[in-house]
Symmetry: C2
């Protein structure tokens, strides 16, 4: 139950970035659930993290370590989120970092920990530590696809993307993986993303660009910047291509940023397409808004409406439910008669009611598709924003009612 | 599929308030779908209405008429909400009022129109007008239960309540009905409420008290004051008991307000109990908050979380999901280690993690019940607020995916 073809591009290795996978049996015996990533010496690393006040122990630690030391290893486990685990959780995350540090001969702070899975259960540290040597032995640059599988939780598909561009005869590569699921209100799902490039980018610029790219991708599938206990996205620049992106507003920076935005949006949209129980992939686009804030207010009100989402599931062109969402989005002085709403190219609302030209057949034709654009034209300004979401199916309820059993 | 016993108290007539029912066949042939209510001369009438910018034509008209003239009749139809119907919708609502006005010999503005049902479809005015004479003929003071049935949409039960108190040997009666459904995000459901009392209350005071009572009842089952296109609640004081409530902070006013708050809360909670697909009735209580705003922020974040609601449906004491909601509710300087969370009387979270005393068996025992209290103690102040909600079931999705078919 995921939307669109289940195909991945060739995942080009990134020189200076190696990945090893191991099976710790955290939730299921034999499942490959531990992923160790090695960053070459001299690389730069940037990260964005959840804003949830109850962020998980590994998030707290990763933020600290990233700010204080040169990162050399990323350790990810699935099956257990080490969230809501109090002081023990922090001690457990530190033990994992220590174990990696001793194994590979770096300081503890050079290891960033990441966990995803059930929250509130103690992390099985011994199981993880026991397979670190396996993961180290497995380290190689062609392990991206295995890593994409290794970080999945309720995901039904591996998520990965790759971008390349050529600058003055030299090829720059960006490769990445993500995991997600739980998309009715995605801020409760754990989203992880790891992208590596062989470009060289100074850390402050890398951080700025990652934050901007995340705002236009991972943060457009969440509400108001609210996120789950464990959300994290890491961008590594190894510099091994020899291409150095040194400033904004250059031809090279434009090429790099375009590739970065594409790969981030691709990884974020893959999470939506594989949303729990998803049968539709929906873009909600709000155009001619007076501000980013009001565009997102309208877009999220539609994207989170269970009545709109169940109508999408039923392939029902119930334009009244969309219209009611725009009405309750809280915009001041909204001119009902000016705005227009479209399903793909079909105008469904104009002049405060159903569009004169609209027929149920047109609406039905749009809704029968797997990919749907809900397009609101506010006629209040020049701002355009999109968010991406899915429908709400009985399958979603089944998955989340049964998750722990 | 509603929570709690399906019993109604005896619905005492209110002197000066008559009700007539008729079958217009708006959505289903034979269904009693038109309710006419007659208010005696000299009564006072107050109303609260949706804040949705796309409010329905009858809401716009009712607000205008209520402000300009003495109300004598309320006309309710179910099966069609006359919302998102543009100028034609307004003309249709006026035609209905005109027809009543001519039939009973009052001015058009003395008739308030109300509609509930599918939005975006033209109101079948002729069908409604054709049965007004039947409704008039049926007018009597003992028709409350029939009226409760007559205003239902996807409701599975009639909703009604009655309160009486004695003041200086005289009995004062309050009787009321409501309808709702669609409770996962109730601001999208149409809620209607009609309460009549034989007390005498001057209009400005009646309006003030209705607004206050609605804020603590109907508005505690919606989000941020956002409401659907058609929500309306009307309070009528006929004065026929001879008891006149003339000021605040008197013994009589206290008695009257207590009865008013009870009946309003009862009618609002009945809507939650009959939420679409509901199998649980849940109070989310936030205590020791620094302000009403932050108490409601936390309460609504929990009450609207699909992950919490699916866990409730599964009777799964998944305290991690509740904890994650508190974390993402957006409170500044939240002290994770100070707050506590309880399921009924069972402490599930303390010191930033699972309570030391908590056992899964205790949590399971609470979740197995039909009525559940999620109780968050913030330890930041002295404010306490509650909201009421339901679980999210597969049945909810079925109902809303099939509503128009």
């Amino acid at each position: 139950m995921a939307v669109g073809p289940d195909t991945l591009p060739e995942l080009k290795p990134v020189d200076g970035f190696r990945i090893g996978i191991a099976s710790a049996g955290i939730k299921k015996p034999g499942r490959r659930d531990v992923v160790l990533m090695e960053v070459c010496d001299g690389a730069t690393v940037a990260g964005v993290f959840t804003k949830n006040a109850f962020c998980a122990a590994p998030v707290t630690l990763s933020k600290q370590y990233l700010a204080s030391s040169a990162t050399r290893y990323l350790l990810v486990n699935t099956g257990n989120a080490n969230a809501g685990t109090g002081e023990q959780g922090m001690a457990d995350a530190i033990r994992c970092c220590d174990a990696v540090a001793q194994l590979v001969g770096v300081e503890r702070e050079a290891v960033l920990p990441f966990s995803t899975g059930v929250i509130g259960e103690p992390l099985p540290v011994d199981k993880i530590v026991a397979v670190l040597d396996d993961a180290k032995t497995d380290l190689n640059e062609s392990n991206w696809l295995n890593a994409a599988h290794g970080i999945m939780t309720t995901d039904t598909r591996a998520k990965a993307a790759c971008e390349q561009f050529v600058y003055q005869g030299q090829t720059v590569t960006l490769t990445g993986i993500s995991k997600g699921a739980g998309m009715i209100m995605p801020n409760m799902a754990t989203m992880l993303g790891y992208v590596a490039t062989d470009a060289r980018v100074a850390q402050p610029l890398l951080q700025q660009w990652l934050s901007q790219a995340a705002d236009r991708s991972f943060n457009r599938i969440t509400i108001d910047g609210d996120t789950s206990t464990n959300d994290s996205c890491i961008l590594v620049a190894t510099g091994r291509s020899g291409v150095s992106v040194e400033a904004e507003n250059t031809e090279l920076a434009d090429l790099f940023l375009a590739a970065l935005n594409r790969i981030m949006l691709n990884l974020a949209q893959a999470i939506v397409r594989d949303g729990e129980g998803a049968t539709k992939f929906v873009e909600v686009r709000v155009e001619q808004a007076a501000s980013v804030e009001e565009a997102l207010q309208v877009a999220y009100t539609i994207a989170h409406s269970p009545l709109v989402k169940t109508a999408l599931y039923a392939s029902d062109p119930n334009w009244g439910r969309i219209l009611a969402c725009v009405g309750r989005a809280g915009l001041e002085n909204l001119d009902l008669n000016a705005l227009e709403i479209y399903l793909n190219d079909v105008c469904i609302v104009e002049k405060g009611g159903r569009a004169a030209s609209y027929t149920e057949e047109q609406g039905q034709a749009v809704m029968d598709g797997e990919e749907i654009l809900i397009h609101v034209v506010l006629k209040r300004g020049a701002v355009r924003e999109s968010v991406w979401t899915t429908d709400l199916s009985t399958e979603y309820v089944h998955i989340n009612a049964d998750y722990r059993s």
